[in-house]
């Protein structure tokens, strides 16, 4: 293609941009996304913000609207410190899972970076949010901004009415339980109160109908007392839907000391925690999807002569920074880079479906060589979360490329033992171990409400299922128990139970913890 025509086709030249440039970029990217990737996205709303505003957004958990709380100020100070010292650059973009999908873009970005950011966030993330099943199942993109707006004004109104300190006390306690404030496996039971009452009436009626005074006269058997007691406990657990993993939900519904507004605040914190839960489950895939999409789109833009070589170089430099993965012994190592792993896995899927090796045909008979990597990826993006994605698609090739190895770490031994490395015997084990480490549900602490006698001492009993002997960090545990006590109003006991043997390992009650 002659140089002159190719220059005239360029979307932009130099590093400056204006809104017209952005609009041209968007249209070009949209065309590629439709033709080459068949992405399905929410409408996009792109907002240009300054670096200060980016810092602000950082500190309020990345949301454009948030209620006020001192802890956000603390995070802000921390982020600001890192940023001012140059210890950390700011993200180029921030994207919110909402409909329309809101993308924040920094004004400092060059034109090339804006194109990259647009492809990454407005198309990659956006497609993932709209199509992935975890998001579809658990979050309501259309209403989140409205809900946050409600939350913000509601909490501000509570502060006016009840004082900042009172609201802060509830928020502090609720924030401490945020991790335990999500439903991991099911939606909350949705028995309407009317239905519940109807059920109760039916049962009473049945008991009245089938009442027979004779039963009372039967002589008591030995052990009757105990079974009676056990029945009673079982009955009350059933009526409270115990055990319950969502502590915030339980406290909101059953705490006897909370005012309605306090319950509403618990609910707000719980809803926000639930909103973020899918992001934790799909962090690697989400970033991988966005990175893969921007890589494909940017290359297509370049191939079509829409961006210059200089811009492409800048994009590639940023891209390789993003997907950089230092080795475990590198001082820069801080865990596995989700961008790098996600991107590599998706590129690997592309490779397997177009140029498979014999090994790939062995491992992935369904997709190897089928040539249709787009569909495989679209399907994976829609139907997997990190854990299942790795379990399904991590190939031996990639394990070798990353030189993965698994370490056994027993707390009471002075050494680590290398369990598996990237060899024939190790592939499956490493894949399983890596998948497990991405399983938020299994790695999260298993703490549930198991019993409470609302008519008696109202002593709340929690149970922590101890997996693999991993206990709780003690000061955090005690402080959190204190917060639960604040919300519950009566004593709270946490019992650690070994998940294999069922034996109690520790027991900690708020009566043992000083104020």
């Amino acid at each position: 293609m002659p140089a002159r025509t190719s220059r005239s086709r360029l979307l932009f030249s130099g590093s400056d941009w204006d809104f017209k440039t952005l609009s041209r970029m968007h249209d070009a990217i949209k065309a590629i996304s439709d033709e080459e990737l068949q992405l399905d996205i929410y409408p996009v709303q792109m907002e240009i913000i300054s670096s200060e505003q980016m810092l602000d957004a950082y500190s309020s958990v990345g949301m454009p609207l948030m209620y006020q709380h001192w802890s956000f100020g603390k995070h802000f100070l921390y982020q600001e410190l890192l940023y001012r010292k140059g210890g950390r650059g700011l993200a180029y973009e921030l994207v919110i899972n909402s409909n329309p999908c809101i993308v924040y873009m920094m004004e400092e970005n060059t034109a090339a970076l804006q194109a990259l950011v647009m492809a990454h966030a407005a198309f990659g993330h956006n497609h993932f949010f709209k199509n992935n099943y975890v998001f579809r199942q658990w979050t309501d993109a259309g209403s989140i901004l409205g809900y946050l707006d409600f939350a913000k004004t509601y909490i501000a109104r509570c502060e006016e009415r009840h004082g900042v300190a009172a609201v802060e006390a509830v928020l502090d306690a609720a924030h401490a339980l945020m991790d335990q404030g999500v439903f991991r496996y099911r939606r909350p039971p949705k028995l309407s109160t009317e239905k519940q009452r109807q059920g109760l009436r039916d049962r009473l009626e049945y008991e009245e109908r089938s009442y027979n005074d004779l039963w009372r006269t039967l002589p008591r058997r030995k052990g009757e007392e105990e079974t009676g007691e056990a029945d009673r406990v079982a009955e009350r657990k059933k009526s409270l839907n115990l055990p319950e993993e969502n502590l915030l939900y339980f406290l909101e519904k059953h705490s006897l000391i909370l005012e309605p507004w306090q319950r509403e605040i618990l609910r707000i914190v719980r809803v926000i925690a639930q909103y973020f839960y899918p992001q934790r489950q799909t962090k690697m895939m989400n970033e991988g999807c966005a990175t893969f999409v921007h890589y494909i789109i940017m290359n297509a833009l370049y191939d079509r002569g829409l961006i210059s070589e200089g811009a492409m170089l800048e994009i590639l430099r940023n891209h390789s920074n993003v997907v950089m993965q230092p080795s475990f012994d590198d001082p820069r190592f801080s865990g596995i880079n989700p961008y790098a792993l996600g991107f590599d896995m998706m590129q690997d899927i592309q490779r397997i479906s177009t140029e498979p090796t014999a090994e790939d045909r062995d491992w992935f008979p369904e997709i190897a060589g089928n040539g249709n990597w787009r569909e495989v990826l679209l399907d994976a993006w829609a139907n997997h979360r990190d854990e299942s994605f790795i379990r399904q698609y991590l190939s031996p090739t990639l394990i070798r490329k990353w030189r993965f190895f698994a370490l056994d770490d027993k707390a009471d031994e002075p050494f680590y033992e290398v369990a598996s490395i990237h060899d024939e015997r190790g592939y499956k084990k490493i894949r399983a171990a890596l998948a497990r480490s991405y399983d938020v549900g299994a790695n999260g602490l298993d703490i549930q409400v198991v019993d409470v006698d609302l008519l008696g001492s109202r002593h709340l009993r929690l149970e922590h299922k101890v997996h693999d002997g991993i206990l709780l960090e003690e000061s955090g545990r005690d402080a959190t128990l204190r917060h639960i006590r604040t919300l519950w109003g009566y004593d709270v006991t946490l019992v650690g139970v070994d998940s294999q043997t069922g034996a109690a390992i520790y027991e900690r009650s708020t009566s043992q913890i000083g104020e």
Partner: protein, 437 residues
């Protein structure tokens, strides 16, 4: 078609409120840290940005978290070079969290230091502090007056006549009263002259007569209606507006004779620094005058004041005389708020102490907003003198002054840690009852 929104002009500092909430929450702890820093740190650093570390209490965000030092885990790490399965690797000695994933050097969020602005530092430091007897002080404070234009007045001194306004009034009055104009008179005079020059017909004579009468009437009228009448005159009116006096001068008086060692000087310096900081916050401009004395006094610069030594006896009154001289020379008390802080170990001859009393009583106290005397004593002496009125010669003498003047304060300090409480005590709000006297 995407929607673009330019948010750059939206208000920044969305998190400011959160930052303030955070600072409010840890206020007590920050106050403590700042005080500690100022007490132990270098004095020149006081008036600047302070870096404080994250207070632990009340800012922890606890949650259930697994303990990294228990149980069995498996880590998957990238970048294997030499390991084969079954190899054993020593755990790093420092607790070995995270299994070989060397913990980053970056501070965690619960353990970082952040900077407080100068304003925030001073706010924390000076909270609850106010000048003693603020109300009374305001009354007593001699304000400077500055004349300001305030409209016009009908009376005043001739130098203040506003000519424009006066002439406007006069013009209006002349129009209203129909004062004959000069041109009218001239026209009549010309007509008379031309008639007289012409033939003396009967009609002409009649006409001349009528004209002369008219001329006379008009001239009388002109005389009656003055060109500028006293009622027209307006004067510029000035009002004396009080101007709050924004200048303060602080006199630091210190005994530098042999009996004042490094320790005493250091403590005196800390006290002066605190006073200076305080005044700087209150006033637009603060001057400091350093006067040191042995048996004779002289005004010196800060360096000399604190660091050069001089030997000699002790005559405290010389310092007061020097102060008086400087005030007369440079700091007229109607333009300056005068503060004085004196530090001494209390050694003085009995006869000179008498002289000090009379000097303070008659000359200095009436000029001063505030006079603070700190006596630097031994920790051992503190037990002896702690509560009694007994003490050095100067202490006893000053006790009389204290009894008489409400704006005179005296305290004993024995160790650096005493300074701040003393300072606070000196500057805490006085109970309202004392204000009335």
């Amino acid at each position: 078609m995407p929607i673009f929104i330019d948010r750059r002009l939206n208000p920044k500092d969305k998190s400011l409120a959160n930052r303030q909430r955070f600072l409010r929450r840890v206020r007590e702890e920050l106050k403590h840290t700042i005080r500690e820093q100022i007490r132990t740190g270098k004095i020149s650093d006081v008036d600047s940005e302070h870096v404080v570390s994250m207070p632990v209490r009340k800012t922890a965000e606890p949650h259930f978290e697994s303990d990294s030092e228990s149980g069995r885990r498996q880590h998957v790490l990238p970048g294997n070079k030499e390991f084969a399965s079954g190899d054993r690797i020593e755990k790093p000695s420092q607790g070995g969290s995270g299994g070989g994933s060397a913990p980053g050097q970056q501070p965690t969020e619960d353990d970082f230091r952040f900077a407080l602005s100068r304003e925030e530092v001073l706010d924390l430091f000076f909270e609850d502090l106010e000048l003693p007897d603020m109300v009374k002080l305001n009354l007593k404070e001699i304000l400077a007056y500055k004349p300001r234009r305030a409209g016009f007045a009908a009376t005043g001194s001739p130098t203040n006549i506003n000519i424009g306004r006066t002439m406007r009034n006069s013009h209006a009055r002349r129009i209203a009263l129909r004062r004959p104009k000069q041109e009218q008179l001239d026209a009549i005079a010309r007509e008379i002259a031309s008639l007289e020059a012409g033939t003396q017909s009967q009609a002409a004579i009649e006409r001349i007569k009528a004209l002369r009468e008219e001329l006379e009437r008009l001239e009388r009228r002109r005389r009656l209606i003055a060109y500028v009448d006293p009622v027209d005159i307006r004067f510029n009116r000035f009002e004396a507006r009080p101007v709050p006096n924004a200048n303060a001068v602080m006199f630091c008086l210190m005994d530098v004779s042999g009996s004042m060692g490094e320790r005493e000087k250091d403590m005196a310096k800390r006290f002066f620094v605190l006073l200076h900081l305080f005044l700087k916050r209150r006033y637009d401009r603060t001057d400091i005058v350093f006067i040191r004395h042995t048996h004779e006094a002289q005004e010196v610069d800060e360096e000399t004041f604190f660091y050069s030594t001089q030997s000699g006896g002790t005559i405290v009154s010389t310092a007061l005389e020097e102060m008086q001289r400087v005030i007369e020379e440079r700091y007229p008390s109607n333009e300056w708020n005068i503060y004085a802080a004196q530090a001494s170990d209390g050694d003085n001859s009995a006869s000179d102490s008498e002289r000090c009393i009379s000097l303070l009583d008659q000359v200095i106290m009436p000029l001063c907003q505030y006079f603070a005397y700190v006596e630097i004593i031994d920790a051992r002496e503190r037990h002896i003198f702690g509560a009694t009125d007994n003490g050095t010669s100067l202490w006893r003498a000053y006790s009389d002054v204290e009894a008489k003047w409400a704006n005179f304060q005296m305290r004993r300090i024995a160790k650096p840690a005493d300074i701040y409480p003393v300072f606070r005590e000196l500057f805490t709000r006085q109970p309202a009852a004392q204000k009335s006297d």
